[in-house]
Subunit: 360 residues, 2 copies
């Protein structure tokens, strides 16, 4: 494996959309979603360990989750776990990772990957990731993003319009778009030119640092000021004191939408961001009544189009449920219509106000 | 307390109607149904301990449940726990208890009580039980049953028609009836003469032995043959060998419906046999949307007429459920429409065939 290749896994996110599976103290990425014995983060690390040296995997997280990560990934060395002292969206996180890696290896190429996505075709994924590294090895100024071949007119994602072909399935990016309405999403998908923005990026460490200095100078300034401490024992302390001064901004908005040499690799490897129970329903195999059963023993009668998530050996008997989300954990149970999922955040807030934060 | 008064608590029954709370290895009577820290059996023993000496409480059970009983009632002496080696309905059980008690005290009066019923007015219950003992003290040949003042035209119970008044609310029994259809049940309830057969009985030990010899001679014969061993160390072995020879027959059918001096005390002490989730729903307090919540933290939206039973500290968020039973235990979850409860037995059989007996 190429020692110049690094993976930055972002695993500091919080999300209540998968309640009760995900909680504030236990976000989605740390959960063994499919009862396989591995959390989404552990699966992500395992996938990437086949592609880059394991010691080149850097975990970016919030200090709240340091203990969970040490527990789930005991063989990742402490100096490969960077603890963000505040939530500042992806641009400052990506920047810190870049300056950190540059201090270790100024020739590095870097993949930035979310930790909480589902990949259903791991071989195709590994091939795409290797091709992406090869691409940024050869295009040292490029900022590459992965664009997912869209399977439906999803209104919950941003889209990337692919332009001129560079080689194979690598294109220049024509535009980044915000989440479209349904009509526009249909046009996007029908055109064949638009791809889902996956939040996966590749670049040489120099390209991203240069782009940061140009397009996100307030973020770059914080990192440049700490430059000499990067990769040393003083680094975490410097970040603890200065990170909060970074603006709260996404890498897409801060850099990708503005930079010149932005490219997209169009891919199709069974990707889901697992953003909602509904998204999980969509990507999962279904029984003949269109029910999705996750890690569960179920006896269903007159039940169709439900997603049922029950952990471990637990059994469910259900009847007369159509289009519901049923999600059970040892301390909480959710049963709501699929089309009311957008209210889940409100319901979980209700829970917090009634029963305190332990359930939220 | 009167040392001649004994209580026989029948706690050998098995029932799948409260699945998943009740299981074959853990029937309803052993369950802490209301999260109070006491099983229905423990509550029954506690209620009766205020009325008869605790050492005069005899537990009749199946040998399968001996360990559970010893654990739940560690202060009941082993010689007060009679282990039926086979299921033979109530007549042989009542007979064995009678012969056993007669060997201890030939002047005894006996209450026979189920172990798995709910009593919502314990003071009225205690008064009724004491009055019943007084009655059979004074009427040494009487076989007394308790008839519950019916609150609805229930088709799931047998009814007792009360005839001539003997004193207060004690009557001669005119007829015992099988479970009526709904039309007949309405007539029964409207008449004011019909009462639910509660399965609670009182008699002098001599009266029931005499009645058994006359009306259930095949049962009486088994007990008479072992007469000298009753109350001795040899008793259990004798029963282990001979009990199976008893016919499988209920005390109602074998004796009560045939005997001469059969009386009924009409009572009203907030009784429920807790025979079904629906029955539990009916007797339980409801929220303003007519939901019944048992031992649960719940956030319900657009939910009405449900019964929600979730154990301990567990939380439930539910939306859009009307007229459902939702019952959760650590290893099983039930969500079915209330009006499909009669199918629960079939569903649980499905479970057994699919996943083995551990869930049934």
């Amino acid at each position: 494996m190429d020692n110049n290749r690094f993976c930055v896994i972002m695993c500091g996110g919080v999300g209540s959309r998968f309640w009760p599976y995900s909680r504030e103290h236990m976000p989605k990425q740390f959960i063994d979603f499919f009862g396989t014995g591995q959390s989404l983060l552990q699966m992500t690390v395992e996938r990437l360990s086949a592609i880059v040296p394991r010691e080149n995997i850097i975990l970016m997280t919030n200090e709240l989750y340091a203990d969970i990560i040490r527990e789930q990934l005991p063989d990742i060395k402490p100096d490969r776990i960077l603890l963000e002292p505040a939530r500042r969206n992806t641009a400052p996180c990506v920047a810190w990772a870049a300056w950190h890696i540059a201090a270790l290896n100024s020739n590095a190429t870097v993949m930035v990957a979310p930790s909480d996505h589902l990949i259903l075709k791991p071989t195709a994924y590994a091939d795409a990731v290797r091709a992406a590294f090869d691409f940024v090895d050869g295009h040292r100024n490029a900022l590459l993003t992965l664009g997912i071949n869209p399977s439906r007119p999803e209104t919950g994602y941003g889209y990337i319009q692919a332009g001129e072909v560079i080689c194979d399935n690598f294109h220049r990016v024509k535009t980044f778009t915000e989440k479209p309405n349904e009509e526009l999403a249909r046009v996007f998908v029908g055109s064949g030119e638009f791809f889902w923005n996956s939040g996966m990026f590749f670049w040489s460490v120099q390209a991203i640092i240069d782009a940061m200095r140009e397009y996100a100078p307030d973020v770059a300034l914080v990192m440049d000021r700490g430059g000499e401490m990067m990769g040393t024992a003083a680094e975490q302390h410097y970040i603890d004191v200065n990170y909060e001064a970074c603006p709260n901004i996404s890498i897409d908005y801060a850099v990708m939408e503005k930079a010149r040499e932005v490219c997209v690799q169009t891919v199709d490897f069974g990707w889901s961001d697992l953003g909602t129970w509904g998204a999980l329903y969509d990507v999962s195999p279904k029984d003949r009544d269109a029910n999705v059963l996750h890690g569960t023993r179920a006896v269903l009668h007159d039940c169709h189009d439900n997603i049922v998530a029950v952990r471990g050996e637990k059994l469910i008997i259900a009847a007369g449920l159509h289009d519901y989300i049923i999600a059970d954990t040892p301390d909480a149970l959710l049963i709501i219509p699929k089309d009311e999922e957008q209210k889940l955040r409100i319901y979980v807030n209700d829970v917090r106000s009634k029963f305190g934060s332990r359930f939220s």
